[in-house]
């Protein structure tokens, strides 16, 4: 599985105002990847998109004939795995392109005086979070591409991944628009789910706001229960 990582950051083209007047030496307001320090940016600019091409053929952006673009947001919860398994067995067709998306929030250090000297600490947290995000996407991609039982073929041949830092709901929706998704397949409960809630906020949000069909996946519960309302 080849992977190329390219980093695009909208803020890279507009340097943060604080950096505009500094010399061409080391810019104290950008982290080591060249992203301006998160706390100086507006929310829209903070999103960082790192792209993964999980299969060789996915490098080209055109879709295969008759193929659909299916966006699958993941967060490492069991629900994400359910969504991927369901998509593999029940929905995906060989010509489809799957776009995996993981959105992480940016790491916050709540300190009274966030000077430039504290940036390295934040950077380390960010690096770890970023690495974990890429690892998760690779992991989910491997799961997705595993050959289907009874055949030796994977369900799809084209998988792309995006590791995004930003707001889960807004950025998943934005990514769906960017890739012109034909459908979104999403789990019903995420990592941060309250025990009482019946539907996660991200799947709820997407089902309301996405213009393309949204497939909200929960496991089919055994129907022998006395009180089916109690199941999620």
């Amino acid at each position: 599985m080849s992977s190329t990582t390219s980093t695009t950051s909208p803020a890279a083209t507009n340097p943060a105002p604080a950096a505009a007047g500094t010399s061409t030496g080391a810019d104290p307001y950008s982290d080591r990847h060249g992203h301006p320090a998160a706390h100086l940016l507006e929310p829209e600019e903070r999103a960082v998109h790192d792209e993964h091409h999980l299969t060789e053929k996915a490098a080209s952006t055109s879709t295969l004939a008759g193929g659909r673009t299916v966006l699958v947001p993941v967060d490492g919860s069991p629900s994400s795995i359910e969504a991927i398994e369901w998509a593999r067995h029940h929905f995906l067709r060989p010509n489809d392109t799957v776009v995996l998306v993981h959105v992480r929030s940016y790491q916050n250090l709540y300190l009274a005086d966030m000077g430039a000297s504290l940036l390295p600490a934040v950077e380390d947290l960010e690096d770890v979070a970023r690495r974990d995000s890429h690892a998760l996407i690779r992991d989910m991609g491997r799961r997705l591409l595993a050959p289907l039982e009874g055949t030796n073929a994977p369900p799809v041949t084209r998988v792309r991944g995006f590791a995004i830092r930003g707001d889960a709901r807004a950025d998943i929706l934005r990514k769906a628009r960017d890739v012109h998704a034909d459908a979104i397949v999403v789990g019903s409960r995420g990592l941060g789910m309250l025990k009482r809630a019946v539907l996660g906020s991200v799947s709820d949000y997407l089902s309301h706001h996405a213009p393309c069909p949204v497939l909200v996946i929960r496991p089919v519960t055994t129907h022998d229960e006395e009180h089916p309302e109690a199941s999620p």
């Binding site: 029940h90 213009p211 929960r218």
Partner: protein, 181 residues
């Protein structure tokens, strides 16, 4: 609650489906454009003709009239007839559309039109009960446009079913087959 419907035939179908390894897809339709879009999407994108049994579920719903001024029963019957006629029209539309699809694609598709009755707006419970009783593989619903409108719109029935169904739920928007963005 729902009046008794032909459960025995549905259960028999489901048992044989299980034996054949087929999936049971339930598409709940009302008379909205969104439902029509959902039907078209289901046929084009979701159904595997060899593997699936498609149920198009319509719920005939009406408010029972109070008998305060007399004649309540008559009113209720009239409403019931109108509701049944509405449901009938939806079934005819679905049958026609599925027929066209089958002819066009030259594939056999096993499908069923089911109409349930619900007095006094128990539509969502009727749908969820049906899903549970038939052990459906998934529920497909149409919903009004949400993407281009500031206020998120998902009908109360669709929203409730999405939250409380015990199976995967697919929401197809009115502008339905359109790609995002």
């Amino acid at each position: 609650m729902a009046a008794p419907h032909a459960r025995s035939s549905t259960v028999a179908t489901t048992t044989s489906l299980g034996l054949l390894g087929k999936r049971l897809l339930v598409l709940a339709m009302d008379d909205s454009v969104a439902s029509q879009v959902a039907l078209a999407w289901t046929l084009k994108e979701m159904v595997h003709p060899e593997r699936d049994h498609l149920v198009v579920l319509t719920v005939s719903t009406y408010k029972t009239a109070s008998g305060l001024l007399g004649g309540g029963d008559v009113k209720t019957s009239k409403r019931e007839l109108k509701a049944d006629a509405r449901a009938q029209r939806i079934c005819e539309y679905a049958a026609m559309h599925i027929g066209d699809f089958v002819k066009q694609m030259s594939v056999p598709l096993s499908f069923e039109l089911v109409t349930l009755k619900a007095a006094d707006n128990d539509v969502r419970d009727v749908i969820l009960d049906y899903i549970r009783d038939t052990r459906a593989s998934m529920l497909i619903l149409g919903a009004h446009a949400g993407g281009t409108v500031k206020r998120a719109i998902l009908g109360s029935t669709s929203s409730y079913c999405l939250h409380h169904a015990a199976v995967p739920v697919i929401i197809v928007k009115e502008e339905g087959g359109v790609k995002a963005g």
